[in-house]
C-alpha cells in the first residue's frame, strides 16, 4: 500500500504575524506542521503498520519545509519529498493540488491523506482537488477509517452529525480532529531523521501547472469595535445593561 501524506508548513498559532505587501514578513516566525496534517501523518503510519507498504511525506514550499519533512521522518515516514517552490503562495490551492496530483500519479499512490484544512489559509480544498485531478474517490472530515484489502469504510463528520461511507481504493482522505492522537517523535527518531535523504521535485518535473490566483495584497485585520467592561451592582444590573447594549447600540438581537 502506497500512502502519501500531505504536510503543510504553517506559522505557529502563537506567532505574531507581520503583514508585508503580498506576503507576510517571515522574520522571527516559528514554523510548525499544520495541526490537522499531524492527524494525517499519524493515520498514514497506522495504515502502513496494519497493511504494510510505505508512507511518503510530501511538502510544498521553499527549503524551510525540509524541517517539517524531517519531523515526519522522525514520526516514522519512509520517504520524504519536497516539491520545491521558492515563491510559494499558500493560497493557490489549484496549483498546489495539480503539482501533488501529478506526483501522486507518478507514484501510483493508493491513498492520499491530508488535514481537513491548513490553519494559514483555511481553504479545505487541496486534498479533494487532488482526488478530482486523479479521478479517484474522496472522503472529507474523516473521524474514523478502516481499510482492508481494497475496501474503505469511514465515518465522516457532516452538518449536524456523522455519516458512515464506503468506497474502494484509491482514495483521498481529509483528516478531522478525532481520527487519532498523533504520536510524538522520540529522540532516536529525531536523531535518525537528520541523516535521511529528502527527495526534491520541481514544478518543471510535475507538469509546470499555471497559477490561477493573483495576490492583490495583504492587510492587517480590520480594527475591532472598541470594547468596554460594564459596571453593575449585581447580575440583574449586568443583564439589563447587556440587553440594552445589544438591542439599542449593537442592534444585533
Amino acid at each position: 500500500m502506497k500512502i502519501i501524506v500531505l504536510v503543510k508548513q504553517v506559522p505557529d498559532t502563537e506567532t505574531n504575524i507581520k503583514v508585508g505587501d503580498k506576503s507576510i514578513n517571515e522574520a522571527g516566525i516559528k514554523w510548525i506542521i499544520s495541526p490537522y496534517d499531524e492527524f494525517a501523518i499519524e493515520e498514514g503510519l497506522r495504515l502502513r503498520e496494519k497493511n504494510g507498504g510505505e508512507v511518503i511525506a510530501v511538502s510544498l514550499g521553499p527549503d524551510r519545509v525540509q524541517e517539517s519533512l524531517r519531523q515526519a521522518y522522525a514520526m516514522g515516514a519512509d520517504r520524504a519529498v519536497q516539491i520545491k517552490v521558492d515563491n510559494y503562495v499558500p493560497f493557490d490551492t489549484v496549483l498546489t493540488a495539480e503539482l501533488i496530483a501529478n506526483f501522486a500519479k507518478a507514484e501510483n499512490a493508493d491513498i492520499i491523506i491530508g488535514g481537513r484544512q491548513s490553519i494559514d489559509s483555511d481553504s479545505s480544498q487541496v486534498v479533494i482537488q487532488v482526488a478530482e485531478g486523479l479521478g479517484i474517490a474522496h472522503i472529507s472530515f474523516a473521524v474514523s477509517l478502516e481499510i482492508s484489502g481494497t475496501s474503505v469504510k469511514a465515518t465522516k463528520e457532516v452538518e449536524g452529525g456523522t455519516q458512515v461511507v464506503e468506497t474502494s481504493l484509491p482514495v483521498a482522505i481529509t483528516a478531522q480532529k478525532g481520527l487519532n492522537e498523533p504520536r510524538y517523535p522520540n529522540l532516536k527518531g529525531l536523531m535518525a531523521a537528520k541523516k535521511k535523504p529528502i527527495e526534491t521535485k520541481t514544478p518543471a518535473d510535475l507538469g509546470n501547472p499555471a497559477s490561477k490566483i493573483e495576490v492583490v495584497g495583504l492587510e492587517p485585520p480590520p480594527p475591532r469595535i472598541p470594547g468596554r467592561k460594564l459596571e453593575a451592582a449585581d447580575a440583574k444590573g449586568f443583564a439589563e445593561q447587556l440587553v440594552k447594549a445589544l438591542r439599542e447600540e449593537a442592534k444585533v438581537i
Binding site: E132, A137, G160, G161, T162, I213, E214, F238, A250
Partner: protein, 319 residues
C-alpha cells in the same frame, strides 16, 4: 458580459439563509460587471424557492431534481450547469457541503478558487475576494485569473438586500454521474438545533461552566435567542460536550453577529475560530482573561448568576 451563478443550499427542504446572502452578493457583483444572476438549487421541489431568491436579486433560477447530498454527484451537477451557463463568477456557500463539492467543481471546469471569502468587491472587471488568513491575524485580497472564478463565501459575511429580479424558474438536468463513495448510514442526532457555523447568534461555554450538567444554563439563553450552542476546546477535551460544538482552530470557524462567551478564557486558538464575530460578549469571573481584549461588552462576574439573569431579561423584552 459577466454573469454570476450562485449555488444555493437547503436544509431539511428549507432554503438556508446563506443562499440569500450569496444571491445578494451575486447581485452586487453582476450590477458592477453588467451581467445577470442565475441561482442554482439542487434537490426535490426546489422550484418553490424561485420567488425567495428573485426577491433578493436572482434574475433566474435553475433547478435540478436530485436526491440526498453526495459530494461527487453534486460536483457533476454544478459543473454541468456551469458548462451550460458559462458564468464568469460562481459563488458557493463555505459550508460543510460547499467545502465537500466545490474543490471538485473547480478542477472540473478549470477554474481558480478562493475559499472562505468574507468580502467581495469588483475592481477592473474582476472580483476581489477578501478572506481572513493566519487565524485572522491578517486579511488577504485575491483575484482569480482564469475565465471562471469560483469563491466559497463564509456564512453571515454578506448582507441580504431586497432587490427584485425576475426569479423565473427553469429546470435543468445535467448528468449526475456515478459516485464512488456510497453513504451507508447517517446519524444526525448529535448536532445543534441551530447550525453552529451558520448561526447569527452563538452562546458558548468553556471551562468556567464547571461540568456537563451545567449546559442547560447556557441552552436556556440560547433557546430564548434562537442561538446555537458552542464550546471551547477545554470543555470538549474534558468530555463535557461533543466535538461538533467546538469553536476554534481545531473546531469550527464562526462569524456570528453576536458571540456570547461564558466562562471562556480566550486562548489564541479559540480566538482564531471566533475572532471575526461582529459583537463579542464575554462573561468571566477573571477580569484579566484574554477574552476581554476582544470583547465588545465585558462582564466580570459569575456566569451562573449573570447568564440566568440575562435569559430572564431577554425573555421579558423578546416576549
Amino acid at each position: 458580459m459577466s454573469n454570476v451563478l450562485i449555488v444555493g443550499e437547503l436544509k431539511n427542504g428549507e432554503l438556508k439563509k446563506i443562499s440569500k446572502e450569496i444571491t445578494s452578493a451575486g447581485r452586487k457583483i453582476a450590477d458592477a460587471l453588467g451581467g445577470k444572476v442565475t441561482a442554482l438549487l439542487i434537490g426535490s421541489g426546489v422550484e418553490k424557492f424561485a420567488g425567495d431568491l428573485g426577491a433578493v436579486g436572482a434574475d433566474s433560477i435553475v433547478t435540478v431534481n436530485a436526491g440526498d447530498f453526495n459530494a461527487e454527484t453534486w460536483a457533476n451537477l454544478v459543473a454541468g450547469v456551469i458548462k451550460e451557463k458559462n458564468p464568469s463568477v460562481v459563488l458557493v456557500p463555505h459550508t460543510s457541503q460547499g467545502k465537500d463539492y466545490s474543490p471538485r467543481v473547480a478542477v472540473k471546469v478549470g477554474a481558480g478558487i478562493v475559499a472562505d471569502a468574507v468580502g467581495l468587491s469588483v475592481d477592473g472587471g474582476k472580483v476581489v475576494a477578501k478572506k481572513p488568513i493566519y487565524s485572522g491575524k491578517a486579511y488577504g485580497n485575491f483575484k482569480i485569473t482564469s475565465p471562471i472564478a469560483i469563491f466559497t463565501v463564509r456564512p453571515n459575511s454578506q448582507e441580504v438586500v431586497q432587490k427584485a429580479g425576475a426569479g423565473a424558474a427553469e429546470a435543468a438536468s445535467p448528468s449526475a454521474g456515478d459516485a464512488k463513495v456510497k453513504i451507508v448510514s447517517s446519524d444526525l442526532s448529535g448536532g445543534n438545533k441551530v447550525q453552529l457555523a451558520e448561526a447569527s447568534i452563538i452562546v458558548s461555554g468553556g471551562r468556567g461552566i464547571k461540568g456537563p450538567e451545567n449546559w442547560p444554563v447556557l441552552q436556556g439563553l440560547a433557546d430564548v435567542l434562537g442561538a446555537a450552542l458552542g464550546a471551547s476546546r477545554a470543555a470538549v477535551d474534558a468530555g463535557w460536550i461533543s466535538h461538533s460544538h467546538q469553536v476554534g482552530q481545531t473546531g469550527k470557524t464562526v462569524s456570528p453577529n453576536c458571540y456570547i462567551a461564558c466562562g471562556i478564557s480566550g486562548a489564541i486558538q479559540h480566538l482564531a475560530g471566533m475572532g471575526s464575530s461582529k459583537y463579542i460578549v464575554a462573561i468571566n469571573k477573571d477580569g484579566d482573561a484574554p477574552i476581554f481584549k476582544v470583547a465588545t461588552y465585558g462582564v466580570v462576574g459569575d456566569l451562573f448568576e449573570v447568564v440566568p439573569a440575562l435569559t430572564d431579561e431577554f425573555k421579558k423584552v423578546l416576549g
